[in-house]
């Protein structure tokens, strides 16, 4: 292809003198340059080269496979949405919201379902996208305004679903290569994905109804392979929260019983920059009749109780442990506290989002809730929160505040 350039003729707006001067100059001609195929292809040429839906020939694809995988994914994403919202609102409850302190293992189960279910979603999602991939190349790409909206929402659904499982997996692998906060992005994207999912299910429901028959042999084999992959990833990870399958948890990102005193540590005292001052005292202050200030010896002299309570991490793992210490409600009775009071538990830790946590009446009045001084029969290791830590039933691990130094009654 040939491009020619020449000096522009003087414009009318330029002065007369300049125009005559320019007209008298010899016409310059830029050298002729041949540009080899540096031109960007037009959209039409791209379209001609792009694959066509009809050319994807794998017989294992098809409506039936897509429908069955879609049903499984619908259940998986609904479960993840519900359990995810529970986790979010347990950690950030609005004022009117009251979570019960029982059953003890409720959060352990819902968060296990969220994380292990999320891991199980990956093979389902990849298989589903493979099954419908030819539709990505359908012609015409857009048939009508309605079709454009539908495809746009499919993009939102696919992008959101991939985004959620990717960021979720990175989070439980403690890898944060992204330029946004995981919690906010994962939480708000969940609404986008679930909204797009409702619309997609509505749009595709007729197809699901007509094709949700027992699949033919080859496709049945494909679905069985996907189910097997899903089963393998569940069985090899669920042991990080479900004790009986612990020996099989070879792919689990966390070994819950590896750590000091037989319990793993998410944030060590060193990582939290915590050191316990020599004159440590626990203060109970705020809306109390008798403010308290107690040394470790004072705490140990109070009636001691033992609770078997799990640490249930937001990252899906959990571990049973036996804690001994002072019942929080005994301590508050000593200080004289109203029954409907809320507490703020403050840590020696000053940095990080989990240096304090709030405790509502159902949790502080539960007899299992302790300010623990001992773990599994030994004085609490500093990485587990020495001198004392909060431990309560049905509560995310990040809210089981360590290195407690103040209990403020609000």
């Amino acid at each position: 292809m040939v491009r020619r350039t020449s000096l522009k003729r003087p414009s009318r707006r330029s002065g007369r003198g300049l125009r005559t001067l320019k007209a008298r100059l010899p016409r310059l001609r830029a050298p002729v340059v041949k540009l080899p195929a540096l031109r960007l292809p037009t959209l039409r040429e791209l379209e001609a080269k792009a694959p066509r839906q009809e050319r994807f020939s794998a017989r294992l694809r098809g409506e039936q496979v897509a429908s069955w995988l879609g049903v499984a994914l619908g259940i998986a994403f609904t479960s993840a949405f519900v359990t995810g919202l529970m986790s979010h609102f347990m950690q950030h409850p609005p004022d009117w919201m009251r979570w019960p302190s029982r059953p003890v293992d409720l959060y352990r189960i819902t968060q296990g379902v969220h994380v292990i279910g999320g891991i199980a979603t990956v093979p389902l999602l990849l298989a589903k996208l493979w099954a419908v991939y030819p539709k990505f190349w359908q012609r015409p790409a857009v048939r009508s305004l309605g079709h454009a909206v539908e495809r746009g929402l499919v993009f939102v659904l696919v992008g959101g679903a991939l985004f959620q499982v990717t960021t979720g997996l990175f989070n439980i692998a403690y890898w944060y290569p992204f330029p946004f906060s995981f919690i906010g992005a994962h939480y708000w994207t969940a609404y986008v994905v679930f909204g797009a999912l409702i619309i997609h299910v509505g749009n595709e429901w007729a197809k699901v109804r007509r094709s949700a028959l027992p699949a033919e042999p080859g496709r049945r084999g494909f679905l069985a392979a996907v189910a097997a992959a899903t089963g393998v990833v569940v069985v090899t990870t669920v042991g990080e929260t479900f004790g009986p399958l612990r020996p099989l948890a070879v792919f689990a990102p966390r070994k819950p019983y590896d750590g000091p005193q037989g319990l793993t540590v998410n944030r060590s005292a060193r990582a939290a920059a915590v050191s316990v001052p020599a004159g440590y005292r626990l203060a109970v202050t705020g809306a109390v009749r008798r403010p308290l200030s107690l040394s470790v010896a004072d705490l140990a002299a109070l009636p001691q109780h033992t609770s078997a309570l799990p640490i249930s991490c937001v990252e899906g793992w959990s571990a049973d442990a036996v804690w001994t210490g002072v019942r929080l409600r005994d301590l508050l009775a000593l200080a004289g506290v109203a029954g409907d009071a809320r507490l703020r538990i403050e840590s020696l830790q000053t940095r990080g989002g989990y240096a304090t946590s709030e405790v509502a009446p159902p949790h502080w009045s539960d007899p299992l809730t302790l300010l623990a001084l001992r773990l599994n029969g030994q004085t609490l290791h500093i990485d587990h929160g020495y001198p004392c830590r909060l431990i309560a039933p049905d509560r995310p691990g990040v809210l089981q505040t360590k290195w407690v130094t103040r209990v403020v009654v609000l």
């Binding site: 992008g159 906010g184 708000w188 994207t189 609404y191 996907v226 792919f251």
Partner: protein, 81 residues
Amino acid sequence: MKRYLLGLPLIALGAYGLLTSVNVIGWAVWFGGVVVAHDFILVPLVLAAGVAASRVALPYRLVLAATALAGAVALPFVILT
């Protein structure tokens, strides 16, 4: 239309939250990035692997597929943790 009445407000709520409390540019790069990575890198690789595996008898091919799927999930944990 009921599905749009249910779905669009949820999408709008999520979009509002993303715009007000998340680095939305970084978010958008990742949101589009995972789609591009999936549709233009991962799937073509899978299709190529499928062609390469087409000589393998079907039952064994399905075993290969299941292994690859499970491996795709497990690999990050083995590498990263």
